[in-house]
Structure formats: C-alpha cells, structure tokens
Symmetry: C2
Subunit: 120 residues, 2 copies
C-alpha cells in the first residue's frame, strides 16, 4: 500500500471471522490494523500470543474483560490502551457491548504486518 | 518497552503540545501511537509529511476536516480511517469537536517509532 487513502466507516465492510466477531483489516508496509466489532454473545477467545508481532489495542466503545500475560483479569473501557509484546499471551476475553450497539469496538495494531491479514 | 502494560484513560495523562492540542504517546519497539484530544478552537495545522514514518489515523470522536496528498478537503468522522505513506503531505486540518466534549479524538499510528516521541 503506497497511495494515500481514506476509508469511511461502513458496517458492510466488516467481515464475520468468528461467530459474533466482525473485523475490518488495514495493512500498511510495516503494520496492520484490525478494527473489531464484537457482540457480547461471543464465546471467550483463546489465550495465546503471536511470535512475530507486537500489539497495541485501543478500546473504542464497550468493554473488554481479558487477561494479559497474567492470571489476573483486567477490565478495560473506552479510551483504554494495552500493549502485548511479541509472544505475550493475551485473551480469554469476554466482551461487554456498548448499550447503544451491543458491541465492543477495539482497534488492534500489529507490527510488523500480520502476514495472514494480507488475505483478510 | 518489553513488558505487557495497560493504560486506563486519564485526562490528566495528556500533555498540551500546542494550544488546544492534547496528546498522549505510547511507544512500542516498532511503532508509536499518538492519542490526540483537539479542541475546535485550534488553528489550522501545517500541511506536511514525515520522511521516515508511514501513518494510519482513526477518528474516535468528533470530526477532522483536512487534506491528504491533495488540494481537495476531506471530512472524516468517528470510525473513519486514513493512511498517509512516508513523505505524503497531510494536514491543513480543522477540527469539529464532538458535542459532548468539544474535542476531536484521533489515534495516529506511526511505523517505525517516531524518534521525537521517545521524549514525549
């Protein structure tokens, strides 16, 4: 991707990758973004890490109840940010949707590009 | 930064870097995040690029009226995403704050780390 670009929010541009989990991916040259819209009914996610990518996450709306390299659970809400280094397990996530939409919105950011996202 | 970490939203953790422009920076090993809260009264920003960093931006709240590699102005709102390759000029920005806060909230994401942000 080498041209400037703008993507307006469009609910139709999200793809359901697991039941209740909608995702829209944006890839640069050195990083990937995953914009998640996750329904409160979604089962708990796996607790694992990814060896090749460091990750930031920003909660945009709703809440995330998860674990980050620990047995302790953390409750995050809008404006909260987390960082998972390469290989650091995270997840075991529950989602408490925003009352307006029933969804939790999260922007996950990966460096370098997540290769499996090139086909997402 | 090599430990997992969580930063809860705290208005006190933002620093005013220009009049009306509050910023909170997060650095990983290969990327930087700038969480902006920008008042509608902020004068137009410069129109320029940065040679070493590609950039994504996500509008979280409020609106951004700006230019991205073009004379044409673009109006972005919540959930909209933009991409500026290295060197691509962007800015000349006006900000229309969310009615609830009077602020535009934007997450800018840079790869690699913006060196000047290491001291931010």
């Amino acid at each position: 991707m080498n041209d400037p670009d703008i993507w307006h929010y469009d609910a139709q541009d999200f793809r359901e990758v697991k039941p209740g989990m909608l995702r829209r991916v944006f890839n640069g040259n050195g990083m990937s973004l995953a914009f998640w819209r996750i329904d409160s009914s979604t089962p708990r996610t796996p607790y694992d890490g990814h060896p090749d990518n460091e990750q930031f996450g920003l909660i945009i709306a709703g809440q995330l109840d998860f674990r980050l390299g620990s047995d302790d659970r953390q409750l995050l809400g809008p404006g909260d940010v987390y960082y998972a280094p390469q290989n650091m397990p995270h997840g075991d996530s529950k989602f408490i949707g925003d009352p307006a939409t029933g969804e939790t919105w999260i922007l996950d950011i990966f460096c370098p590009v997540r290769e499996e996202y090139r086909r997402a």
